[in-house]
Structure formats: C-alpha cells, structure tokens
C-alpha cells in the first residue's frame, strides 16, 4: 500500500521525476565524456628546428618523414608549431607536450656517427604520464622503422659481399667480386690444399651471410607485438560502459528517491500516524527500499533496452544485448533495493526532505567515484568502495552482461549486496525510529 502510494506520489511530481531521470543520465554522459577524453588524442606540438625535408634518405632508404611520424603517432594529434608558439601553447595548456627536432638531427641520422635526439617537453597536467608514454612509443616505433631501413641498407652490402657487383660507401664507388665470383675464380685454379681451404671458407661464409638478414631482424626486435584487427564493440557500446551507465543511473535515482521519500514522511507529519500501529518501522523501510528497487528496475530496463536497440541498429558484433537482459534486470532490482536502503538511512538521518536531497547529492557522487577509482590507484578508495553498493552493482552488471560463466561473480556480488542491504536496512530502521521521535 505504501509502495503504491509512493509510486503515485512520484508520478504526480513530473518535474521531480524528470529531474531524477535526466540528472543521472546527464551525469553518466559526463562521466562517459571524461572517460572518453581520457582515451582521446591529446594535442602535441611538433617543432622542427632542423627543417627536415619531406623525404629523408637513411641508409640508402628514402623516408617520407611526416608520413612516418603521422603513421606512428596515431595516439596523439601532432600540430606543427614554431618554437615560440609551442612554448606558449604548452604554458597555456593548449598542447599537453611539445616534441622538438633539434638542429643537427638529420645529420646525425644520416651519418649514424651518434644517436640523434628528439626533445620532449610536457606540462604538469594529469595527462603528462600518458603523453610521455605515447611519445616513448612514438620514438620506439620510429626506431623500429629506421632499424628496418638500416637493416635493409646493411643487407645491400651483405648482398654485395655475397654476389658481388657495383656499390658505393661514403661517396666512394667500387666494384666488388663477391663470394660467388670468388668461388668461380677458385674453381678455375688448379686444385691444391690452399685453394681447398679458401673454397671451404667461401662456402661457410656464403651460408652464414645468407642468414644475416633474418639474424639482424631478430636481434633488432627480439620480441615483436602482433596486433590483429579486432572486430568487437566500440568502447562506447561496450558492455562495460553499459554496466557503468546502469549502475550510475540506478545508484543516483534509488538513493535520491529513497532519501526523499523517507524524509517526506516526517515533513508531511504522516510518520506519526503510521507508527500508531498501522505500519512498523521495518515495513516503512521496506516500502522505501521497494520504491527504489521498482523505479530503478524500470529505468535500468529502459536503458538496457535502448542500449540493445542501438547495438542492433548499428549492427555491432561481439555482444549479445538481449540474451542476458533478464539476468541483468534481477541485478538492477537487487542493486536498486540495496541503494534504496542507503537512501532511506540518509533520509531518516536528514529528517527533512530538502536536507535529505542535498545530503543524497553530496553522498551519491563520492559513492560513485569511489567505485570508479581503480584498485591500484588508491587502495583506501578501493577498500571504502567495497562497503558501498555501487562497486558491487557494477561488477554484478558486468558479469551478467559479458562474462561467459558469470555465476561465481554473481554469487559473490549478490552476497555482498545482500549483506550491505541488511546492514544499511537495519541502520535505516534505527534512524526511522529516531525520525519518528
């Protein structure tokens, strides 16, 4: 009866209902944008003080340098700037780093007399470690490309030694006999012990040099990372984003609703009437918990359905939006109820609907963000998040959505949620008793 009353009251508050529905979705989108920004390309200034030509010849190989840089720098947006502009934009934060090609870079590269250097300057923002890593990756990949060029250039000389022919080194041209020619010359000589020794050397040298290319490549790159093209969902449509989105929305909604509904009983003076033997404090807490669970379930289902439609409409492969929907909804109802018990506790402590709403907003954001902090980033946040329902809701939804065998995770997280729900529910009951007094 009380649940029906609360649902009716909610239905008659369209502004509140709209805000409660829109607010968490907006927050979810903002969190998504922030998370998306974290994986977006940072802007990096490219300062060419050596005036690199479009095409550079290294070890006899020609490189279109900008194309190579663009090709390997896919994780950042490189912007060509002069040194002053780059310094100013770095100071302003318009670029997160500058990478400078110093004078003499090309000369060092072509002569290979010493290793050429690129200079990386970074700002002090949170993206700095990531940009540094990406620039290190860029230099690593440039080195790989150059290595390939050097190996090819070296192999030209190896081939000359093997097969003979015309070549040049440091501007000096020459005509080489090669091991093939040497073997022919030796064959034309009268057999002797000395000729046989030289012939044996030529054979061994030819066999050895034939493997030089593979050996050079192997020693240059002892381990290579092969990355086949994946055909799964995009990040935006991933099951992880879906589970975070639903958890965030349900947490926000359930906490605010339950807190407001609990405090409203005091505001409207009805708690006095109810406690006169009409309803026990436990039943009153249950009514608010059920309200949070029902509304959370409806909204969670709506999000899941919209998500599924988008996945289907976009023809995205690698996920099954419908098969796990019933399982997901069980978790949504459970999480909504547990968050509802936290909300009821807050509402009863606040004693007044407006204070309860404010308190709920103040509490819900840390509850969510504690759950978003990775374990390795801040241990205390991780441990705190274990005692709040959001983290367990995310894990529940994640397992329900994309674990091949989710039952163990679901069992563990269900146990966590039930224990948390019981604890917060009992506390809410005690607080309700105080509220009635």
């Amino acid at each position: 009866m009380l649940l029906r009353k609360d649902l009716r009251v909610l239905w008659r508050s369209p502004l509140l209902l709209g805000a409660l529905l829109a607010y968490p979705i907006v927050i979810a989108l903002l969190v998504g944008l922030v998370a998306g920004y974290a994986s977006a390309k940072p802007r990096v200034a490219f300062v060419d003080e050596d005036h690199l030509p479009p095409v550079v010849a290294v070890g006899g190989h020609r490189f279109h340098l900008q194309t190579v840089i663009n090709d390997v720098a896919k994780q950042v947006t490189l912007v060509r700037l002069n040194p002053k502009e780059a310094a100013r934009e770095l100071a302003d934060g318009k670029v997160v780093a500058t990478i400078t090609v110093p004078p003499g870079f090309l000369g060092d590269l072509e002569t290979t007399t010493k290793s050429p250097s690129l200079v990386l300057r970074t700002g002090t923002g949170g993206l700095t470690p990531r940009v540094t890593q990406q620039m290190q990756a860029l230099v690593y990949q440039l080195n790989q490309k150059l290595q390939a060029g050097y190996i090819s250039a070296n192999l030209v000389f190896v081939r000359l030694i093997l097969h003979g022919g015309k070549g040049s080194f440091l501007g000096q041209k020459f005509d080489l006999l090669g091991l093939d020619g040497t073997q022919k010359e030796l064959a034309a000589l009268p057999p002797s012990k000395r000729v046989a020794v030289i012939q044996h050397f030529v054979q061994v040298a030819r066999a050895g040099l034939a493997q030089t290319g593979a050996a050079l490549r192997a020693t240059a790159n002892p381990i290579t990372l092969v990355q086949p093209k994946a055909h799964g969902r995009t990040w935006v449509l991933s099951a992880q984003v879906q589970s975070y989105g639903i958890a965030l929305t349900v947490t926000f909604l359930a906490l605010m609703l339950a807190a407001g509904a609990a405090a409203a009983e005091k505001d409207e003076g009805t708690i006095g009437r109810l406690r006169r033997g009409l309803v026990s404090f436990g039943q009153l807490v249950w009514a608010k918990v059920a309200l949070a669970a029902v509304v959370g379930l409806v909204l969670g289902a709506a999000i899941a359905v919209v998500f599924g439609i988008v996945v289907e409409a976009a023809g995205v492969t690698g996920g099954e939006p419908w098969g796990r929907l019933p399982l997901l909804l069980v978790g949504v109802a459970l999480a909504g109820a547990v968050v509802g018990s936290v909300g009821t506790l807050l509402g009863a402590l606040a004693r007044e609907a407006r204070t309860a709403s404010l308190l709920a907003v103040l509490v819900v954001l840390p509850v969510i963000f504690l759950g978003l902090v990775p374990r390795g980033a801040l241990g205390l946040a991780y441990w705190l998040s274990l005692f709040l329902p959001f983290t367990h809701a995310v894990r529940w939804f994640g397992a329900a959505l994309y674990d091949t065998s989710p039952w163990r995770t679901l069992g563990v997280e269900t146990a966590w949620l039930l224990v948390l729900g019981a604890v917060y529910g009992l506390l809410a009951r005690v607080a309700m008793r105080r509220l009635a007094a």
Partner: protein, 215 residues
C-alpha cells in the same frame, strides 16, 4: 467500577536535555471530554502524542483499551494525494473493510472536495478538516485532538465540534488540547492544565479559571 478507556501511568518525555513532559498520570473515562490547556510548549501535544501512540514515552506506560483516533496539531496527510486517496489509504492501513465506502462517507460528512485536486492544494481549513476526518477512520471510541480548530473559521469550527459531540453522544471519550477558553467551557467536562511539562491543575471544567493560564 467503570474502567478508563485510556490510562497513562507516570509517562514522561525528554528531547535530549529538555524535559517536555514530567512524569504524569492521566485517565480518560467513557463518555468524558477532557480539555488540555496550557501555553505553547506546556507539553499538551507531547501528552496527546504519547496517548495516541505516535510518540514513545521516555518513561511510564500507556494502556489503551479501545480504538483511538488522533488529530495531530499539524495536518498529517500526503500532499500529493487527493483527500479521497488519503482517506482510502489510511482506511486500508487501519483495516477498514470497505475503504472506498468509508472514504466517501467521510468526504461527504466533512464537505471535502471529492475531485482530483491534491490535498496540498486545499485551503488551510479543508486540510484541517481532512486531518480530523482521517482520525475518524475505523470508528474510534476515543478521539484525541490537538488544537483541532486552531486554523478554522467559526463555521468550520462548529462543524468539527458537531462531529466531536456526536462521538461523545455515542459514549465515546474525547481529549482535546486548546487555547480557546470558550471551547473549554462549551465542550469539556474536565480540565487538565499543563505548564512547563507538569500538571498544575486538574479538575471539573466548572472550577477552571482561565486567568493567567495562557500568559
């Protein structure tokens, strides 16, 4: 010997350090109308809330032998629900067999609007009448009223007292808090005067002298 319908023994209530009601004995006999009189903060509402079961006493006990209706000082109903929905909801919670019929009867008896207008949008008088109507659900034998006419015009006051007197006429007992002397003299058989949480006078209404009580 006739037993009291409501009996409170040494009931008291503290709110933190503040003693709202000192240990107090109180009895309400059948067909009796008792007026609780005293200035603001005297403990009238606290005593009535304890008798109604809406507030736990810090000490002492209350024995209630019949169904009790309670009219709190501030209207206590759901502002987003219509008067009919409020009456039906509380009728169901009270265990009234035909909640819809009981609600309809009370709407008519108190002249409350039966339409879809939420209770929170009613006039102050209508809200207070709904407050009184809610207390009559389940046909209580005892009515506890906390300044029921404080915000009503003379016509509305008369209507409330008609209902109260009807209950009294059927053998029910009434205990009401008031700040109106004429309500004491017109309706009460007995008067209990409270001051600073303590009973300072208890006796026949005819022997009650209002002078100095509300200062």
């Amino acid at each position: 010997m006739t037993e009291p319908l409501v009996c409170a023994l040494r009931v008291s209530r503290r709110f933190g350090e503040v003693e709202a009601l000192a240990p107090t004995d109180f009895e309400l006999m059948p067909a009796e109308t008792v007026a609780l009189v005293g200035p603001n903060g005297a403990g009238k509402s606290t005593l009535l809330s304890i008798l109604a079961g809406a507030l736990e006493p810090s000490e002492g006990s209350v024995e209630v032998r019949v169904r009790v209706g309670w009219v709190p000082q501030r209207p206590a109903h759901y502002a987003r629900l219509t008067p009919r929905e409020n009456l039906e909801l509380f009728a169901r919670l009270e265990g009234v067999p035909d909640a819809a019929q009981a609600a309809a009867a009370l709407l008519e008896r108190f002249g409350l609007p039966p339409g879809p207008r939420p209770s929170g949008e009613l006039s102050v008088g209508n809200r207070q009448r709904l407050n009184v109507a809610l207390s009559l659900l389940g046909e209580p034998r005892v009515l506890l009223l906390d300044e029921p006419t404080a915000s009503l015009d003379p016509g509305q006051r008369r209507r409330v007292w008609d209902v109260v007197n009807a209950l009294h006429g059927e053998g029910g007992a009434v205990c009401f808090a008031t700040q109106y002397v004429e309500e004491v003299t017109d309706h009460a058989d007995r008067v209990v005067v409270l001051q600073d949480g303590r009973v300072v006078f208890a006796g026949e209404a005819s022997s009650f002298e209002a002078e100095g009580v509300f200062d």
